[in-house]
C-alpha cells in the first residue's frame, strides 16, 4: 500500500534540507522582527515549506514529484494540527484543573458553596453521584433492550431485520439536546416525573441504545455457528441456545459494548440540562428531584467571573476526561482478554 515511501539517500538529504531551511528562516524572523505569529506561520512558513519541498521533490523525482510533495506537506501539517489541538485540550485540562483536585473535591457537594468560595471547600461529590446514578439507570434500560435488538438481528433473523437496523442507525443520529427535549416533553408535561435522575437516565438511554445494539450485534455475529448447532443438537430450544450458549460465549464483547455505550454518553450535557436540571445537594432518590451531574457542574461554572469557580470547572472537566479514559482503557483491556471465550 505504500510504494511512495521508498527512500534513496539523495531523497532523504533533500527532504532534510527542505524541512530545515524554512524552519531556520522563520525562526530567525521570529526572533528579529515582530511579525505576528499567525502571519509568520501561514503567510511565510507555509509557502516557504511548500516551495522548499517542491524543489526537493523536483530534484529527486522530476515534475511528477511536485504534486506529491504538496500533498505530503499538507498531510503532515494536518496531522500536526490534530496533535496540537489534542495536546492543547488535554494539556489545558491538566494545567488548569489539577489545582482543584483534592479528596474533598471528589466527595463534598456544593450546598454552602458560592462561586467566590475558595477551593478548600466544596466539591463535585454530588455531581459524581448524579452522573453515576443517571448512567446506571440509563444502562438498566438500554443494555437489555440493546442486547435484545442485537439478538433479534443475529439470532432470530426475522424479516424486519433491515428495518430494525435502519431505525437503530437513525436513532444514533438524534442530537443529544433533542433526546433531552423529548424526555422533558413526555415526563414533565404529563406530570409523571419532574426533572430527575430517572428522566436524565431515560434521555441517556436513547443515546446509549444504538451504540450498545450495534456493538452487541457485531460481537454476537462472531460467535461460531457450530456452537448454536451443537446446542440445538442437544435438544435445546432457540431461546435457551441464545441465553445459555450464545450470549455467555459473547460475554466479554457484550461487556465491552456496555462500557463503550457508557463512555459515549457520560459527557453529554444538553440532555441533562433539560431532563435532570441542577442541584447543589447530593441526591440519591432517582425520582424525587433535580440532580446535578459532572457535565452540568462544568456547564454552570464555566462562565462565572470568579477564578475559583472557573478552576472548579476545569477540575471537574479533568475528572470527567479521566473517567472517560478509564472506561476506554477498561474496554480495551477486557476486549483484548479472552476473546470469544
Amino acid at each position: 500500500m505504500r510504494p511512495w515511501r521508498k527512500k534513496p539517500t539523495r531523497f532523504t538529504a533533500s527532504v532534510t534540507l527542505a524541512v530545515v531551511i524554512p524552519a531556520l528562516i522563520v525562526a530567525a524572523l521570529y526572533l528579529t522582527s515582530d511579525i505576528p505569529v499567525p502571519i509568520l506561520l501561514v503567510v511565510i512558513y507555509l509557502p516557504l515549506q511548500l516551495i522548499a519541498s517542491g524543489i526537493a521533490a523536483w530534484a529527486t523525482k522530476g515534475t511528477r514529484g511536485i504534486a506529491d510533495s504538496v500533498i505530503i506537506v499538507n498531510a503532515i501539517g494536518a496531522s500536526l494540527f490534530s496533535v496540537i489541538v489534542l495536546v492543547s485540550v488535554i494539556g489545558s485540562l491538566i494545567v488548569r484543573g489539577l489545582r482543584a483536585l483534592s479528596p474533598h473535591f471528589l466527595f463534598q457537594n456544593s450546598v454552602y458553596i458560592s462561586p467566590s468560595t475558595p477551593l478548600d471547600y466544596g466539591g463535585i461529590g454530588h455531581s459524581l453521584v448524579g452522573t453515576l446514578l443517571i448512567v446506571f439507570i440509563a444502562s438498566l434500560i438500554s443494555v437489555p433492550i440493546g442486547i435484545a435488538t442485537a439478538v433479534y438481528i443475529t439470532e432470530v433473523r426475522g424479516r424486519a431485520v433491515p428495518y430494525v437496523r435502519f431505525f437503530v442507525q437513525a436513532m444514533s443520529g438524534v442530537p443529544s439536546v433533542v433526546a433531552g427535549l423529548f424526555i422533558l416533553t413526555i415526563v414533565v408535561a404529563t406530570g409523571a416525573f419532574n426533572q430527575s435522575a430517572f428522566a436524565g437516565g431515560l434521555a441517556y438511554a436513547i443515546l446509549m441504545l444504538p451504540t450498545v445494539a450495534r456493538t452487541a450485534e457485531e460481537v454476537l455475529k462472531l460467535v461460531p455457528d457450530d456452537l448454536r448447532t451443537g446446542a440445538l443438537a442437544l435438544g435445546s430450544t432457540r431461546a435457551r441456545t441464545v441465553l445459555r450458549v450464545v450470549i455467555p460465549a459473547a460475554r466479554t464483547g457484550i461487556i465491552t459494548a456496555v462500557i463503550l455505550g457508557v463512555a459515549r454518553v457520560i459527557g453529554e450535557t444538553a440532555p441533562l440540562l433539560l431532563a435532570a436540571g441542577n442541584n447543589d445537594q447530593t441526591v440519591v432518590n432517582p425520582f424525587g428531584s433535580p440532580i446535578s451531574s459532572v457535565p452540568t457542574y462544568i456547564f454552570n461554572n464555566v462562565a462565572l467571573p470568579y477564578p475559583d469557580a472557573v478552576t472548579r470547572a476545569w477540575g471537574s472537566a479533568l475528572v470527567l476526561i479521566i473517567l472517560v479514559a478509564i472506561l476506554f482503557t477498561l474496554a480495551r483491556v477486557i476486549g483484548r482478554g479472552r476473546v470469544g471465550r
Binding site: 461460531p224 457450530d226 456452537l227 448447532t229 451443537g230 446446542a231 440445538l232 443438537a233 442437544l234 435438544g235 435445546s236 430450544t237 435457551r240 441456545t241 445459555r244 450458549v245 455467555p248 460465549a249 460475554r251 470469544g340 471465550r341
Partner: protein
C-alpha cells in the same frame, strides 16, 4: 420397549423429561423411507431407503458432496433449520415418523443425538459444565450429576485424563479430547441413537483410534450412524455400510447397502467396487 417409554418418546413434555431410573434405556431402530431432500430448488438427495438396526453401527460412505452430511441431518431434524430446506419421505424412529406434525423436533433431538466434524464444546463452560450442559439446555432432569459426569466421560474414554480437572475450561483440551468431551456431552442426555458426522476427520490418528474404540463400546448401548470418508475406519468400526453417490448433475442416492463385510469384500455394483478400491473419490 414398554408402552410408557413409547409414549414418552412421542409425547415429551416441554418442561422436562423424566428419565428412567432403572437402567439407561436401550438403543432404538431407525429407518429412512424414500427420503428426498432439497435446498430451495436444488434436489440434493433422491429416494434414500436405509434401515438402521438396533445396537449396530452403520457407516455412510461416499465421495464428498454426495449428500451424506445432509442426509444424516434429516435424521435428527437439524436439516430443517437451514433456510430453504425441504424434504419428502419419512424418517421412522421406533416405527413412528419423526416428521409427523405432532412430533416436537426439540424433544426428538434428545433421543437422537449428534456429534459433529469440528469439536464444539461450549467455551464459556468448564469440562464438567459441558458434560451436563445438555441437561441444562433441554430441561431434562436427572439426579446424581457427579455420577453422570463420571459415567459419560468413562464411556467416551476421557475420564482418566480429565478427572482431576473437571473445573478447567473446556477450551484447554486438545482436539481429540474435545471431541470425546462432546461425545460424553451427547451421552449425558441418554439418546437411543447417536449420529456422527465425520467425527475423526479433524483429529490426529491416535485420537481417531481412541474414538473408534469408544464407538465399538458405545454400540452395545446406542445405535450409531457414522458418516465417514475413511474406508478403513468404516471397516474397523461398522456392522453395516451404505454407499452414497452423486453423479454429475444428479442428486445423491444410495448405490448399495448391506453388511460391511459384503460391501467391502463382495460388492454387487461396479461403482461400489471402484470406490472401495480407491479408484475415485
Amino acid at each position: 420397549m414398554s408402552t410408557a417409554e413409547f409414549e414418552d418418546v412421542m409425547d415429551l413434555d416441554i418442561e422436562g423429561v423424566e428419565a428412567s431410573t432403572v437402567h439407561p434405556v436401550g438403543p432404538a431402530e431407525m429407518e429412512a423411507r424414500d427420503v428426498s431432500v432439497w435446498f430451495g430448488q436444488r434436489k440434493v438427495l433422491e429416494g434414500v431407503n436405509i434401515v438402521f438396526p438396533k445396537k449396530t453401527v452403520t457407516a455412510l460412505i461416499g465421495p464428498s458432496g454426495c449428500g451424506k452430511s445432509t442426509f444424516i441431518r434429516t435424521l435428527n431434524r437439524l436439516h430443517e433449520l437451514i433456510p430453504g430446506a425441504a424434504l419428502a419421505g419419512s424418517v421412522l424412529y421406533e416405527g413412528k415418523d419423526i416428521y409427523d406434525a405432532a412430533v416436537d423436533p426439540v424433544s426428538i433431538r434428545l433421543q437422537i443425538g449428534m456429534v459433529f466434524q469440528k469439536p464444539n464444546p461450549f467455551p464459556s463452560m468448564t469440562i464438567r459444565g459441558n458434560v451436563l450442559s445438555g441437561l441444562k439446555l433441554s430441561g431434562m432432569k436427572r439426579d446424581n450429576h457427579d455420577d453422570i459426569v463420571e459415567e459419560t466421560l468413562t464411556a467416551a474414554g476421557l475420564w482418566n485424563e480429565v478427572k482431576d480437572r473437571l473445573g478447567n475450561a473446556a477450551g484447554d483440551l486438545s482436539g481429540g479430547q474435545q471431541q470425546r468431551l462432546v461425545i460424553a456431552r451427547a451421552l449425558a442426555v441418554q439418546p437411543h441413537v447417536l449420529l456422527m458426522d465425520e467425527p475423526c476427520s479433524a483429529l490426529d490418528p491416535a485420537s481417531t483410534l481412541k474414538i473408534e474404540e469408544t464407538i465399538r463400546e458405545l454400540s452395545k448401548e446406542v445405535t450409531i450412524i457414522i458418516v465417514t470418508h475413511n474406508m478403513q475406519q468404516a471397516v474397523r468400526v461398522s456392522d453395516y455400510t451404505a454407499f452414497f453417490l452423486a453423479e454429475e448433475g444428479t442428486p445423491g442416492h444410495v448405490v448399495e447397502q448391506g453388511a460391511t463385510t459384503e460391501i467391502f469384500g463382495n460388492p454387487q455394483e461396479q461403482r461400489t467396487l471402484d470406490y472401495v478400491n480407491g479408484r475415485f473419490g
